[in-house]
């Protein structure tokens, strides 16, 4: 990692497996000797509200749980409008974002009271708030695998393939069996591989 502390925000909507995703990443890095602090807010927001985890990674010391505004190095967003919301506050010109393209509409949107931003405009906005943004159809692929919740692991696969954080199949496997259970390893590793594959075309385009 090129910065200490390295600041990661995992953003999404309640029920998307946000908290678990940040815990798995944290466990992988702790097992490699990093001092990791994760800040969460959950409670009422579990009921379909915005959720956000702050993951702070350091080789030197245990940082506090809150990333200051503009200091995110990486944003993993499980929902595109949440990506924009988080980047507007925590992003800077060097922030990288990995964004799941599938929108989750709030009831104000589904009920027709407010409009959800149009896709291209939203992607443009996310690009303008980052140095590099990757867009993945993670939920679509997770649904093909039979469970939308796997989108969070697909996103972690993408982070790994982009070479942003030192996450590998074997260290993730260990973290999954520690945080979840050994029965869950196989399906999650498949999702991890899907994430690596999904981002590969976008990375090769950069080269």
């Amino acid at each position: 990692m090129n910065k200490d502390p390295y600041n990661l925000v995992v953003a999404g909507v309640g029920g998307q497996g946000n908290v678990l995703g940040s815990q798995l990443i944290g466990t992988v890095l702790v097992n490699q000797g990093y001092k990791v602090t994760i800040g969460e807010t959950y409670g009422a927001s579990q009921r379909g509200g915005s959720v956000m985890s702050h993951v702070r990674i350091s080789a030197k010391r245990q940082y506090g749980p809150l990333i200051p505004p503009r200091f995110a190095d990486l944003v993993i967003a499980l929902e595109p409008s949440e990506a924009a919301r988080v980047l507007a506050r925590y992003g800077n010109r060097n922030t990288v974002a990995i964004v799941n393209t599938r929108p989750v509409y709030s009831i104000d949107v589904t009920g027709g009271a407010v409009h959800y931003p149009e896709t291209n405009g939203l992607m443009e906005k996310i690009r303008s708030l980052t140095s590099k943004a990757y867009f993945l159809d993670a939920t679509d692929r997770a649904l093909q695998m039979g469970n939308p919740i796997l989108a969070n692991i697909i996103m972690i696969g993408a982070v790994s393939a982009a070479g942003i954080l030192p996450i590998t199949e074997s260290n993730l496997e260990k973290a999954i069996s520690e945080v979840l259970s050994s029965e869950k390893v196989s399906v999650n590793l498949k999702a991890f591989a899907v994430g690596k594959e999904l981002i590969a075309s976008q990375i090769s385009r950069d080269c």
Binding site: E40, G43, S45, P68, F71, S106, I107, T110, G112, Y116
Partner: protein, 588 residues
Amino acid sequence: MSGNEGIAQGAYEYGVRLASAYPGTPSTEILEYIGERYPDIKAGWAPNEKVALEVAAGAAYGGSRAMACMKHVGLNVAADPFMTLSYTGVNGGLVIVVCDDPEMHSSQNEQDTRNFAKFGKVPCLEPSDSQEAKDLIGEALRISEEFDTPVILRSATRVSHSMSLVETKPRTEGLRELGLKKDPMKFVMLPAMARKRHPVVEQRLKDVAAFAETFPYNKVIMGDDSLGIISSGITFQYAREAFPNVSFLKLGMVWPLPEKMIRDFASKVKRIVIIEELDPFIEEAIRLMGIKVEGKELTGLCGELSPEKVEKALTGSSKAKSIGPIDIDVPLRPPNMCPGCPHRATFTALKKNKVYVAGDIGCYTLGALPPVGMLDNCLCMGAGIGIASGLDRSLGDLARGKAVAVIGDSTFFHSGMTPLLELAYNGGSTTVVIMDNRTTAMTGAQPHPGTGFTLRQDPTISANIEKLAEAFGFKRIRTINPYNVKDTEKVIGEELEAAEPSLIIARAPCALLKTERILPDKPLKIEAELCKGCKSCINTGCPALEFVKIEEPKEGEKRKGYSKINELLCVGCRTCQEVCKFDCIKEA
């Protein structure tokens, strides 16, 4: 580990033999972890925080190390035993874990628990990360036994729900001999005995203050002497990140304070700033010592702090430079009731009856938000029934047949039983709806005395609300399935007309519960051609329903759009089907 895991691990390592709690964010997970991981600790959910503290007090009286856990407002409920427990003291160590919620992520107020420590003349420790959360449980128990006092461990959302590294150790047992010991002069607080105990309490506070001078978790970190920051808990982390090179006095014990240590620190630095969230608790105490400090004029009284806010408070600016105003224009995402939630069905029926609703605390509080908008007040746990009774009896005809109290099952067992008794006792015509979803849903589905299961999922009694109300003297008690919205509407209407108190139990398990499932888990379907676009279903506020606008209407088409069901979210609760006037919602 999270701070809450650290606290649970601390209970294990330092020999806690009994733990009791009522769920409340951000404290809930402490007892859940104890239930899952540490079979050596006797643990169970109490109906409310007052009982939890009394159960823990009983364990401590018998020589056991004990713990009671609650959120900040839980200590209000437990305030009665707390204040006099200070007089009786303990025997085995007793730690009261209280988790504050600055910024009110999941709370109705942001009261500062340190005031209770001062009020009750009880020591208060405050951890700043998960390691300290664990360690300070050990210190709290040691102080409790050494000074014969209950001790508060004050956490906060950002400690309880943040994760950091913790080193674990094996379990050690408490020091006190276990058993029933008679000592009425100490434990029976009749006036004559209490008068003798009060001076003991005052002397104890002085003794703990002297101990605080050498307490290893009160520590000075000398750096640049132009600025000295006095801080504690999570705010210490923020301050240290914002100003890594200045001098710090970090307090692990925030009551009583180490006066000599503070004076000594003050003499070594040029400027002193107190960084603390919420009330000027440390600041006022230090000002009383006659020491010139800055504090709340810089940091403010409301909400939580952050590294950025601390930096701005002291320097007027922040390294975190804005990259210019950003208009992201994305809609807000307020929380709401889940697809298939039985509360939505009940609220839909209440809305049809056009009533005023005295609310309570639980998932159903979300019924206040649009488009449901059916909760007209919400004060504290268990308040709704009493408030409805007060409205009904004071307003007479102005409220008759128009006011309803709603309360969940767990909240009812927490503090709804006594106001229900008041209602039966004093009469009136209030209608109470108990929204019984068979769990404590808002905090993540904890069992309670009505569910038939304990913390560790062992089978137990299931308290019967109908029989309880009958024993209280209620004559009108009706149990309904709220998903039958039309029937529910009718039953509510009939009970509103009754001239005496009535109780409706709207019983259907939480849509997230895996155990007691009555939902079909098959999505419904809307026949788009039949839909008139009246939005009756949309106005129930179900996240599984979507209104599709018609951009180019066909000739003669009057509707502006039609409703559609998201098959991934719909669990088939039928609430929308019940409110549809055109019979266009069908089983798929």
